[in-house]
Symmetry: C2
Subunit: 210 residues, 2 copies
DNA sequence: TATTGAATATTTAAAAGAATTAGTCAAATA
DNA sequence: TATTTGACTAATTCTTTTAAATATTCAATA
């Protein structure tokens, strides 16, 4: 009886919202924000365009929701894979690898955020800052653990974590810029960046060691 | 007698070339590459526009020459002020301060290079790479000195220096991007970047210490 | 060889129009 | 009432055109 009802019942609103997110994610990840139209997303699902606007106020909100969705996925993934790790260096290495993995996987999705230097919409800014804060807290937590284990010695967690984050993120940017010609590094370029990040992080961590 | 000859004699070709460089430098530093016209530079000197083309094949070459001119000035400045310093950390601090000083002073001049992500002309690329190489060698030399003094322990100078350079340059970029809205950080923003660079460099150097 | 005025070639800027796409809404459905 | 849609409007992007600004060339000259 329950089964029958389930089959007859229309999908719940939440379910549809997620369907839209997934569909948009696929498009954004494949073609990027600006090369994806609302009409296409709707067509993929055999929804009407207007329905998208019933669930999301505008395209930008949808993009932000997708971004948030993917970032959450990534953070959960990292949290999971980080569980058994206690060593500071190893933890940072794993984070670097995971983040690079996601950047590769969702490059066209991230690209829009990445290159939106001017006039970042209010809510996109929030997602970015929130994500940054999350990464920041993550590093802080790792550093604290390192201190607790007697591995590291740190006076200002907040600042130290930010320094490491900026160095690593900046390194990605400078190398991407250095490689120049389009902001689409190839797989090999990403790997080179990752290698540098790892080495740099190792030295940084050693610089914090007792 | 010599004096008289000097007064009567026309300025040497080289002298005029430098006059053009100086004049272009002033304009580029003040208004940037694209907001400076060849006509303006010529007018400043009461030269004809065509004469500029006698000394420089085109505007881009002139820009590159000016950039090279300023970078050389900066390198000599750094070399001079670095003479009495032996301590690794102090040396890096001084370099950071000097470089930031020049970036501030010639911001509009550098800005064009900075933002020329696509289609960097052949010769501009050469100047950039050359400057990077110089900075790289500079860091290597400092690191070598640190090892010689028994301060540091390093296995791959080339790579280690590059890591430090990328981290520092990247940090500048990421913070500039973070601050966002126009690529013209204010004086305070530059100072904040410099502070981060210094702290980051200190940790990095400690990470290389014996 | 060094220098110029005048002519030409390129690049940028602005305007106008067409085409695409974002976003709205009253009506329909369930 | 909560969803859903087709048809409509508004905003944005893309092209094309034209004009203006600017870079670049060159024959002539000192």
């Amino acid at each position: 009886m329950n089964k029958l009802i389930l089959l007859i019942m229309p999908k719940s609103a939440d379910e549809k919202r997620i369907k839209i997110l997934e569909s948009a994610k696929r498009r954004f990840a494949h073609y990027g924000m600006s090369k994806t139209t609302m009409a296409e997303i709707a067509k993929d699902l055999s929804f009407s365009k207007a329905l998208l606007y019933y669930y999301f106020p505008d395209k930008n909100s949808l993009y932000c929701a997708v971004l948030d969705y993917v970032i959450t996925e990534q953070e959960e993934d990292i949290l999971e894979v980080l569980k058994p790790v206690k060593n500071t260096e190893q933890a940072v290495m794993i984070i670097l690898e995971k983040r690079m993995e996601y950047i590769k996987k969702y490059y066209n999705l991230f690209e829009y955020t990445f290159n939106a230097s001017k006039d970042v919409p209010e809510d996109l800014g929030k997602v970015i800052i929130c994500s940054f804060e999350q990464q920041h807290l993550q590093i802080i937590s790792i550093l604290k653990n390192g201190v607790k284990c007697g591995e590291l010695i740190i006076d200002d967690y907040d600042e130290t974590a930010r320094l490491l984050l900026f160095s690593l993120m900046g390194m990605r940017m400078i190398v991407i810029k250095d490689i120049k010609h389009s902001f689409f590094p190839t797989k090999e370029e990403f790997d080179a960046i990752l290698e540098m990040q790892k080495k740099m992080a190792k030295i940084f961590i050693k610089g914090l060691s007792v």
